[in-house]
Amino acid sequence: MLSIIINNRFAIASVILFVTGFVNMMVHPNLIKKIVSFNIMDSATFLMLASRGMIAGRTAAILTDGGANTSLYVNPIPAGLVLTGIVVSVSVSAFSLALVQRIYGTYGTVDMRELLEAMKKKGE
């Protein structure tokens, strides 16, 4: 049992992080914390991807004097996917933060419950 946990530590950690981010995003009323939760969720997937792509004893697929012996290198695709995923995640975070700033400018709050109350008061 312990060996299973140790062998799958990255997968377990990423599942815990993903669930933490997912639940917080669902239930937390603060918009900034929702964005942080989304980033935790995305980081969990990157951890999962990076850990699955890594093979102990091998290095990044950068050709050096050692030649093109593929058994020396790990598959570069997971790392490429993590980079693409980070770019997407940063773009979405930037967009979300800009939107939250705009909402704060209009209603003076970043709390979803207070926001809905403020809308009701304004009759929107």
């Binding site: 997912f22 995305d42 999962m48 991807l49 695709i77 997971p78 693409t84 209009t106 809308m119």
Partner: protein
């Protein structure tokens, strides 16, 4: 390779290049007309490609970049993808034309170029979600579509649209997070992201019995993720605010097209990667079926309670998407084909309804409460007729597209062992519920505006583009209602060649 095989790639490239260029091209009108022209050109290109691929009776994998499969990136297209791309581009063009007046009123002239950037990105995303043969590319374009769609909601730049956007954005991010995690799990157990290789690996795993629990879990996550994004019940709460408060063009594009892109991707993943047998083996289709018919009933019930015309149409979209999920949930090729037809008919009908409501509301200072729209059809009869055609199609009156969709679902249910009675019962109940809010709405807009409490309805300004859009969208609804057999033949063959 025939030249026509390049058209899908070129259409995606054209929309993306246009989006990039529009961010620096000045002039609101120029940006708008460039976007209209590009969507029209993409429509023509997609129709040309469709005619070639239907004649060739084949599907083709188009390799992009330096490396071939399984390392490089691919798009794959057949008759179904050609048909979907043609309809998506045509409806985008008509939605732009139909909502032109309101778009220029609602959007700051300085920001029109950026709005057009987003419209082009939405079209590019829809095309890629139909064409892609790579799961990770699908994820990237899901996120692009999310940002572009959210921006389209908030371009009106009012308090309610900002709040609607943030709710839409967070639900969408939950959905894309689930989808991303599911494809990472899939990659972890198969080592592939291209769909044909994934298909082979999944078949081997199913045969050996390895990782079946992980497969079931990731399939469930993928379904939930794409379900959240395409407003599957009970994840639909974000939709009425987002689609009901946006400007007419945005509402038409979001309701008629954007939510369909994710449903198309779900169908592609089910058919091309997992196969319907695997989906049935894990009973995922049963869950989708139940959520689909819950959406059909409860979406309509909430639409009946609505007093705001656009929110009523938005709730109706939840019900109509329920039809799509019910068809997918049947778990048969016939059911999926019926769902594809529903996607096409709803893509024409809902923008027709939104554009018509926009025109009707323009006579009463854009007040979209149903009470305020009373009698407005007499001020702009074509919009009244357009709304009537859309409403009758939704109810399922013969010769209108909605009727053909319902016939397809009923026919498809015959091929299932256990779901036939439930499907027929839900179709009947849903049709009655649709009639309960659409028929009173049609009567309302054609009634005499006699109440003293209502403000005077002015004569609608002439709007040739909206007139053309309403006529063409109505023609689309009627064409699909009358000539549905050839369209269904293309869909069925497209699914076989997928």
């Amino acid at each position: 390779m025939p030249f026509a095989w390049n058209l899908p790639y070129m259409s995606v490239f054209l929309t993306m290049i246009t989006a990039i260029l529009l961010s620096v091209i000045p002039g609101a009108k120029r940006a708008y007309w460039i976007t209209v022209c590009v969507s029209a050109i993409v429509t023509v290109m997609s129709l040309c490609f469709l005619s070639f691929i239907v004649k060739a009776d084949a599907s083709y994998a188009f390799t992009m970049g330096k490396f071939p499969a399984p390392f490089g990136n691919e798009i794959k297209f057949g008759p179904l993808q050609g048909l979907l791309a043609s309809v998506f581009a045509a409806v985008m063009c008509l939605s732009l034309l139909g909502g032109r007046a309101e778009l220029f009123e609602d959007v700051d002239k300085k920001k029109m170029g950026l709005a057009c950037v987003m419209l082009n990105m939405v079209l590019a995303s829809l095309l890629i979600l139909s064409y892609t043969n790579d799961a990770f590319t699908a994820y990237v374009f899901i996120e692009i579509s999310t940002i572009a769609a959210c921006a389209l909601v908030m371009i009106k730049d009012s308090g309610p649209t900002l709040v609607a956007t943030i709710r839409y954005l967070f639900m969408s991010l939950l959905g894309s997070g689930l989808f991303l995690f599911s494809i990472i799990l899939l990659y972890a157990i198969t080592g592939h992201l291209l769909m044909p290789q994934l298909n082979e690996s999944v078949a081997k795993l199913m045969e050996s019995g390895n990782y079946t629990k992980v497969l079931a879990m990731l399939l469930g996550m993928m379904t939930a993720g794409l379900g959240v994004k395409s407003a599957m019940f009970p994840f639909h709460r974000w939709l009425p605010d987002a689609h009901g408060t946006a400007t007419t063009t945005s509402s038409a594009v979001l309701s008629g097209l954007v939510v369909k892109g994710y449903a198309v991707l779900l169908i592609t993943m089910y058919v091309r990667v997992f196969t319907l047998d695997t989906v049935r083996a894990f009973h995922i289709n049963d869950a989708v079926f139940v959520l689909g018919f819950c959406g059909m009933i409860l979406g309509s019930v909430q639409a009946i309670r609505e007093t705001h015309a656009k929110r009523m149409l938005a709730y109706s979209s939840v019900a109509q998407l329920g039809y799509v999920f019910m068809g997918i949930g049947l778990g048969t090729k016939e059911g999926v084909a019926a769902a594809c037809f529903q996607i096409l008919i709803h893509a024409f009908t809902k923008p027709l309804l939104f554009v018509s409501v926009g025109r009707l509301a323009s006579t009463v200072h854009h007040d979209k409460q149903l009470r305020a729209l009373r009698g407005t059809a007499w001020q702009t009869p074509l919009a009244g007729i357009g709304f009537g055609i859309g409403a009758l199609s939704m109810v399922g009156i013969p010769l209108f597209g909605g009727f053909a969709a319902k016939v397809n679902f009923a026919t498809a249910s015959v091929f299932t062992d256990t779901k036939i009675v439930l499907t027929l019962a839900v179709l009947a109940i849903s049709s009655v519920l649709n009639a309960l809010y659409y028929i009173p709405a049609v009567i309302n807009i054609w009634s005499i505006r006699g109440e003293a409490a209502l403000p005077e309805a002015g004569k609608a300004k002439k709007d040739l583009t909206a007139t053309a859009a309403i006529i063409l969208l109505a023609c689309g609804v009627l064409f699909l209602g009358v000539c549905f057999t050839p369209v269904m033949n293309i869909i069925v063959r497209g699914l076989e060649l997928m």
